[in-house]
Symmetry: C2
């Protein structure tokens, strides 16, 4: 692999000039820049990320904390993040969070501390207080997406509102025996996404005069949704409608209904949350939260933090929503020019306005039979 000195020699300039010509930082005559670019291309020279990182203190990489295990939502969000990061020359380091204690410890106490990333995007994963401490103690910008802790600045949808919208839809159809399945650890257990949805459900039901609505706690897979629904359906007073905290749970509910010989929506109405790609085929009514777009916005927000020139006057208004970096796709032929960044202090706990969501009505919901 050619090094910067090879290019310098061949172009008849110093390494300093090569660095400047290729990075776009500092003045270089157009003529010199041209020549250096050409030589770099000939030699196939690209600056070593490692060496550049050590010299600049920037890694040009963003870490993403996620628990991939089979969840469609996360894969989709991740895809959105990757799509936004790449054109800006940022790599994406994936930290797949498992339940394994040793692995988590290794992650938070070592991997994350090795300084390999400039910032961290924490997707909705349940983190312990210690883990949050570790995360915030990194001294890096951290942006959450629907994160569990109020201490992590996060983009998020108003999950109570999501739940209320789903329940309102069912109530409007005439349902009263509405059950909820989700992964809330119980009423008021925290501010994590499943609990918010649970609380929103309870609020809406209470407002409608059903103070103690039925809730079944379960994990987030299709199989779990099926199991929880089967359990609900064999109760004395089975629900006429189910609000599932995710589309995958809702799919499971549809399978369960089918197994019991119930028709959806005639005998059982079902609403999910997410906007899963298979929702349309299942005819699932859902609250779409546009996961890919969420990933894009989270990435945009991170980029904004990372490329913010350390303005002496800290912006009164927080970095706000989207405007972010203009779609300045770097010169592809050579090195990626980058605005030098200084990590700004992050102020707000909740960023900008909540993320959008939308009720998508399909064929899994209808008025109750009787």
């Amino acid at each position: 692999m050619a090094g910067i000195d090879d290019v310098a020699r061949r172009a008849g300039v110093s390494a300093t000039t090569v660095s400047r010509a290729l990075s776009g930082r500092g003045r270089v005559s157009e003529k010199t820049r041209e020549r250096v670019r050409r030589v770099a291309d000939e030699l196939g020279y690209v600056a070593s990320a490692t060496a550049a990182s050590l010299a600049t203190g920037q890694t040009m990489s963003v870490g993403v904390l996620v628990s991939l295990t089979g969840r469609w939502y996360f894969a989709t969000v991740l895809d959105g993040i990757a799509a936004r990061l790449a054109p800006h020359g940022y790599d994406l380091t994936l930290y797949d969070l498992t339940d394994d204690a040793a692995q988590r410890q290794l992650l938070f106490e070592t991997s994350l501390r090795r300084g390999r990333v400039d910032g961290i995007l924490a997707l909705t994963v349940t983190l312990s207080d210690d883990e949050i401490d570790a995360l915030l103690g990194l001294g890096l910008p951290v942006v959450g997406l629907g994160t569990p802790s109020p201490r992590v600045p996060a983009l998020r949808v108003d999950d109570r509102a999501v739940a209320r919208a789903a329940v309102a839809h069912l109530l409007a159809l005439g349902h009263r025996r509405i059950a909820h399945i989700g992964n809330s650890k119980g009423p008021g257990a925290g501010c994590d996404v499943p609990t918010q949805r649970h609380d929103g459900f309870v609020e809406a039901m209470t407002d409608a005069g059903v103070p103690c609505p039925v809730f079944v706690q379960t994990d987030f897979t299709v199989a779990d949704g099926r199991r929880a629904t089967l359990e609900l359906l064999q109760r004395e007073e089975p629900p006429t409608a189910i609000f599932a905290a995710s589309d995958e749970l809702a799919f499971g509910a549809i399978f369960a209904a089918r197994e019991r010989g119930l028709r959806v929506p005639d005998d059982l109405s079902i609403v999910g949350v997410d906007g899963h790609e298979m929702g349309e085929l299942f005819g699932l009514t859902t609250i779409d939260q546009f996961p890919r777009r969420q990933g894009e916005r989270a990435a945009e927000h991170m980029l904004a933090l990372l490329t913010a020139t350390d303005d002496p006057t800290p912006p009164a208004a927080p970095p706000a929503t989207v405007p972010v970096v203009p779609a300045r796709v770097p010169d592809i032929s050579t090195t990626v020019p980058v605005i030098p960044a200084r990590v700004p202090a992050i102020s707000a706990t909740v960023l900008s306005e909540p993320l959008p969501f939308e009720l998508v009505t399909r064929t899994s919901t209808a008025p109750p039979a009787e």
Copy 2:
């Protein structure tokens, strides 16, 4: 963040010794090592990945080339890879491949050349000849998983055999009008996965006396599977069975059948490929290829290449299957000790024996009606 000199000073030794004590490379008295460890813990010191990389030439990171877009299979494989890499102290840099030409060019001509990873895992993605050239020209170990090019050493299942097993199952049930839906670019178009499955299908059908079996080319989503199946079902002689090249396509086929008022399996039998988590709920008969395990094995293989000490006698037998690095989970409390690696030349095009697969018979297949 504390640096190595802080630790050295406080422990009363040189930086050299700190490095040795924490990395496990080189002799250090047990007593000194203890003290250094303790001080490092107190100070929360972890060696900078960037500085260490520059000094050693190893990044302790593996790049994964994948096209995430919604495909369950890839997310699952990725999860398997991450699970295997993490305990060995390797990070995972995700390169999400899109169809965008500019982004791909940026990836192959710049991102990948910045020397940020020690090796590359290329999941089944369609790469152009130029891209393969770029990949192989990196001078890094590259391991494919079901990769399109014969030039990339890869772990793979025998996809022709997969197809034959699926078709054999249908033939044994008495089907003759068997159609295939998949993403082969046509007969004999290459050695990529979809084409292999297609060719295996044709072989099996030809052997059974059906020389020109029906094939519909389509993308790999559930919606595509539905569309392709709807098309097949309105032909003059609709198939009695469908072999879908993925479980997601098969799900789409099931939806299509249902839409047309056909019962599965009575009126239409359906077989998929993958071992998708929702397969059981759909009652889908499938060829399970254990995707998570595939990811794990690909990661293990890469680790074996990366940690192979450059043995002067090149092993006559290729690195072979699994034995790999013993499950030597590094000392979590401090820095990760690592066997110094020299990248060995990779010889074989096809690695070890093919990956396993298995027919899982469920309720989507049965003898044809008449």
